[in-house]
């Protein structure tokens, strides 16, 4: 601040006094300004809302309401999408699992997958004469009738044949041909199913056991809790038949 250029001491001191009063006033004003500045900055830091006007508050409220509505709509959409996705995921999983289960079941029936479970292990030894193919066929029919689910024929040489829908038996010079595999006695038959039912079916008077005995052969029946049918049938795609819808 510039002091007024004064010549005389008297007027200078008067000027000073005046200057002092005005300076005091200016100081008070600036102190007020500083105070207000600090207060305003602080109250602004705390929150802008209390200082806002009614119309501003209404506008802010409107904005927030609109935003809330938008976000709620978005939440709904996303929830629907999530429900859809999880539902389809569950459906796919369930369908896949069912399909796998079905494949396994059909594979056991068709003989394309190994099977294990309780069942009978039969050993058919021949006497003086060859066992005829009909005897084996009878045994198989009896086993099937008693609920055998997976059956395999084999002999001591390690040849094994899984029985399927198209299995055939034929007599050969040395024994029996099953699906083209030449087996020799003793025949080893493994059938998975209810052991007691199948054993009872075989032992019926006039049944397989009697027939075998009459043919001069021997049949040993072992019931077992866990047998493995490991022989497989090649899967042949049907040439003519097509699934009908």
């Amino acid at each position: 601040m510039k002091l007024p250029a004064v010549a005389s001491p008297r007027s200078f001191s008067a000027g000073l006094r005046r200057q002092g009063r005005a300076g005091l006033l200016i100081a008070v004003l600036l102190a007020l300004l500083g105070f207000a500045l600090a207060v305003q900055v602080r109250s602004n830091e705390a929150s802008a809302l209390p200082a806002a006007r009614q119309e501003d508050l209404v506008r802010i409220l409107d904005d927030l309401s609109a935003r809330e509505t938008r976000l709620r709509a978005e939440i709904n959409e996303l929830q629907v999408a999530q429900a859809k996705i999880s539902a389809s995921g569950n459906g796919t999983d369930a369908a896949l699992q069912e399909a796998r289960q079905r494949t396994a079941d059909l594979g056991v029936l068709a003989g394309t997958v190994p099977a294990h479970g309780p069942g009978l292990s039969l050993t058919l030894t021949e006497g003086n004469r060859h066992v005829a193919a009909e005897v084996l066929l009878d045994a198989l029919e009896e086993l099937r009738g008693a609920g055998a689910e997976a059956v395999q024929f084999g002999d001591n040489s390690g040849r094994r044949v899984r029985v399927g829908a198209s299995t055939w038996f034929g007599d050969t010079d040395s024994g029996v041909a099953v699906d083209g595999a030449h087996l020799k006695a003793p025949y080893l038959i493994i059938a998975i199913g209810d052991p007691a039912t199948m054993a009872a079916a075989l032992n019926i008077p006039g049944g397989v056991t009697d027939t075998v005995r009459q043919a001069g052969a021997g049949l040993r029946i072992d019931q077992s809790r866990l047998l493995v049918v490991s022989a497989l049938r090649p899967l042949q795609a049907p040439q003519y038949a097509r699934p009908a819808k």
Partner: protein, 110 residues
């Protein structure tokens, strides 16, 4: 010099005392502060120009603050308080810029 000291004292007091702004003053205080800042920068410029006058400064300071408050009050009564305070801030801001530019020319000669 004494003015700067007073400003600092006021700032420190405001920080230390932490008073709450009364509700009725809340819309006006920021505008009043900006108006006072305008007056202060104007005074600073005048003192650098060598034409500073105590009376002019005090009157401009008080009237600036009062007019700013009155304009905002009127605006609130008319329902255009928000827009009017924005306008006041813009005008005062322009003035502050002009004053600061003049001060800058004095201080840096550029």
């Amino acid at each position: 010099m004494i003015a700067a000291v007073a400003l600092v004292v006021g700032l420190v007091l405001g920080v230390i005392l932490r008073p709450t702004v009364p509700i009725w003053l809340q819309p006006y205080l920021p505008i009043m502060v900006v108006a006072a800042l305008d007056a202060v920068f104007g005074g600073l410029r005048a003192s650098l120009d060598g034409i500073f006058d105590d009376k002019v400064f005090v009157i401009s300071f008080v009237s600036n603050v009062a007019v700013a408050a009155i304009i905002v009050f009127l605006g609130d009564q008319l329902g255009v308080g928000g827009q009017l305070s924005t306008g006041v801030v813009v005008v005062l801001g322009i003035r502050i810029f002009g004053n600061v530019a003049a001060i800058r020319r004095h201080v840096f000669r550029a």
